[in-house]
């Protein structure tokens, strides 16, 4: 917004710059206008300085006798001119409100005018100021002196207004904290579900039971007989009980966000750090989790390894399979920029038909459909893979929680995510592309990249990614259960060696698969690997089939061959 120095505006009112200007209106009426001639021969009315006014007064009176009376009144030094309503004291009637001069400068005004102006400045819906929460500054427009109002005071009114103002300031923080609380508790609920999905009901409950206990704990009751010391002790105790399981309260709600985050490239940098954080912060009282040499590994250990497994798998996939996949994808692209070698029949035909508008239209339409399908497939895969990442993160959170419990229950139940699968996360992005090519389309050779991008950024794709990420723990859990049917019973059934120790029932497992979490972990990993394998096969097969397409000749009688 353009701005001008406030006074400039009123100064320009006087064409004569020498004229002293104090109040914008005052001089206007104080000096009589004089007719004069300017250089460009335009007739102008200029206000002359006082001395000239005196000299030309006679002429002026002769010229405009009807105004001379009025001029005389304006010249009266006792004349006051309200800077708000512009009326002067000669117009005062008995009803006119008294004159006020609230500042050191020459501006005077009617009290009623000033109060109207102040009321308008303070009107909440008509604030032209930005800081509408604080009271507006009421200052003289000329000398910027604050104009003070004596207002009757009332404690109740002041208190209520103060509370109203405070309430206005608290609206945003309040809304934000409600939103955050909602998110926290939904994440918590979701995290609990995924812990059960991965660990099964028994181990899951062992991990989570402090939450349940704390949630159902009766509130502290304060009676009159309690001393303040007792009260504070009670509060301290309740707080400590919660603090003891801080990993649960922080880690479980974090499972969902970390799962979703791990679908992005952010996870590549973040996930490998999590196990370190986990080991650094874990309680010294659970030596089991640091035991690297035992088999089967503890759940904490297993889940901590998942991010590294994911990185290794991703690396392997990128090095070995990604180039081939790209090649296969390329094979089914229309040969816009590539050698005619792979697409002899169909593509050639389409290219020839390119001139026809029908074909042209058809192409794009098919393209759209394909893109849609591809998106769904690709996203699901992406989600699953991502979920793996997320699971890894979630698993670590869960591990943290489990470790926290481990102190009490020697068998730290490590929450399992099918984290191993997380490695696939990067592959899904590539998968979608292959499907697109299924139908030779007018897509650009760069379609794979474009397709990926579309998958990553369309709102549908984002929603699908998030949903897939959140579903992954359940998928891993189900895959783990399916393992039971395929593997020998002895592999998957726990053996109780020393039924009870002083710390509780202790299982001596021979393998990962005897525990629900272990099956979930392995099942999740297998799921990702299997999915990648299927996708690679489909792509390879599609490329091959694409090469073998043929256009069928018309066998019936020919028309139009007259």
């Amino acid at each position: 917004m353009a701005s001008l120095p406030p006074r400039q505006a009123s100064q320009t009112q006087r064409t004569n710059p020498d004229q002293p200007s104090n109040a914008p209106q005052q001089p206007q009426s104080a000096s009589p206008p004089v007719r004069t001639r300017s250089e460009d021969s335009q007739t102008l009315f200029l206000n002359k300085p006082e001395e000239e006014v005196a000299a030309s007064e006679a002429i002026q009176d002769a010229e405009r006798p009807q105004e001379s009376q009025k001029q005389g009144a304006d010249d009266d030094p006792n004349e006051k001119n309200c800077w708000i309503c512009f009326s002067d004291s000669s117009e005062d009637t008995p009803d006119t409100s008294p004159w006020r001069s609230p500042c050191p400068c020459a501006l005077v005004a009617h009290e009623a005018c000033l109060l109207d102006w102040v009321a308008d400045l303070e009107a909440p819906n008509n604030r032209r100021r930005n800081d509408y929460l604080s009271a507006p500054k009421i200052e003289c427009p000329q000398c910027k002196t604050e104009i003070k109002l004596a207002r009757p005071q009332n404690l109740v009114v002041d208190a209520v207004r103060g509370i109203e103002r405070l309430g206005g300031q608290l609206v945003t923080p309040g809304a934000v904290s409600i939103l955050v609380g909602t998110l926290y508790h939904s994440s918590m609920a979701w995290g609990v579900q995924s812990i059960y999905a991965v660990f099964g009901s028994e181990d899951g409950y062992r991990i989570l039971h402090p939450l349940v206990q704390n949630a159902l704990r009766a509130p502290i009751e304060f009676t009159n007989t309690m001393t303040s010391r007792q009260i504070s002790q009670e509060i301290l105790r309740a707080t400590l009980v919660h603090l003891q399981h801080w990993r649960l309260y922080i880690g479980i709600p974090l499972i969902a966000p970390v799962l979703v985050l791990s679908r992005t490239t952010l996870a590549d940098a973040m996930l490998p750090v999590l196990p370190i954080v986990f080991f650094v912060t874990q309680n010294a009282t659970s030596p089991e989790t640091i035991d690297f040499g035992t088999w089967p590994p503890s759940a904490s250990m297993a889940f901590a390894m998942v991010p590294y497994l994911r990185s290794a798998y991703n690396y392997y996939y990128r090095q070995v399979w990604a180039p081939k996949e790209r090649q296969w994808l390329k094979a089914i692209q229309p040969r816009l920029n590539q050698d005619a070698g792979n697409a002899e029949g169909g593509n050639g035909e389409q290219g020839a038909a390119g001139g026809e508008q029908d074909m042209g239209n058809l192409g794009p339409r098919e393209d759209d459909d394909n893109v849609f399908e591809v998106r769904i497939d690709g996203n699901i895969w992406e989600d699953w893979e991502d979920t793996d990442d997320e699971d890894a993160a979630a698993a670590q959170q869960a591990i943290d929680a489990a470790i926290a419990q481990a102190a009490q229950q020697p068998h730290g139940q490590e929450p399992l995510g099918d984290n191993a699968n997380a490695e696939g996360a990067e592959q899904p992005a590539q998968n979608p592309d292959p499907q697109q090519p299924q139908q030779p389309q007018p897509q650009q050779p760069a379609a794979p990249a474009g397709g990926e991008r579309r998958l990553s950024f369309s709102p549908t794709a984002i929603a699908e990614t998030v949903l897939g990420a959140l579903m992954f723990p359940a998928i891993a859990g189900v895959s783990g259960e399916l393992l039971k049917f395929w593997l020998p019973r002895s592999w998957t059934t726990p053996v109780f060696n020393t039924p009870y120790t002083f710390l509780g029932r202790r299982r001596i497992g021979r393998g990962l698969l005897q525990e629900k979490w272990g099956r979930s972990l392995v099942g999740g990993c297998l799921f990702v690997v299997l999915k990648d394998a299927v996708m690679l096969y489909v792509r390879w097969k599609m490329a091959e089939m694409h090469r073998k397409r043929r256009v069928v000749d018309w066998n019936g009688p020919r028309r139009g061959r007259a």
Binding site: S3, A9, T12, P24, Q28, C85, L107, C113, W117, R128
Partner: protein, 154 residues
């Protein structure tokens, strides 16, 4: 209060005309809250010789709130919307005080034209772009052309 003060301002304007404002009159005699004005393009600028019609609407709680002023004649200026005539001037919004009047506000608008405006809060993007790129000659040529086409010769 608004109409009483407006009558005063119009009286003062007739007694003591401004060099910037050539015409200031109500659109119709029975409604003082809609005024029309003719503003002279400031001398020694690209607007020189142009006569700009403006429409002025006086709000009911004038002078506590500023009059709303916009150009009827297209005015090529970085802080004036060429199509709607909207003027971006703090005097017309936040820094208004009742000490201003219609005439002094119109003079401020003329001064805004003479001062070249503020290209960082533009309503006329094309002109502001020229100014920000430093093409003062091009900007002045454009303003001169637009003034000649729209604000002269009637």
């Amino acid at each position: 209060m608004a109409s009483k003060r407006l009558v005063k301002e119009l009286q003062t304007f007739h007694r003591d005309p401004s060099s910037a404002v050539l015409v200031l009159e109500p659109v119709s005699d029975d409604d003082l809250t809609n005024l029309r004005a003719v503003l002279k393009g400031p001398d020694d600028t690209a607007y020189e010789g142009g006569l700009f019609n403006l429409s002025i609407t006086i709000p009911p709680n004038y002078p506590s709130t500023p009059p709303s002023i916009h150009f009827l004649t297209p005015c090529c200026h970085p802080n004036v919307n060429f199509k709607t005539g909207e003027i971006c001037l703090d005097l017309l919004k936040t820094s208004w005080t009742p000490a201003y009047g219609v005439v002094s506000t119109l003079e401020a608008v003329q001064q805004l034209m003479g001062a070249g405006g503020e290209p960082d809060s533009p309503l006329n993007i094309d002109l502001a772009k020229l100014l920000r790129a430093g093409d003062l000659v091009g900007a002045e040529g454009l303003v001169r052309l637009m003034t000649r086409v729209h604000a002269m010769g009637r």
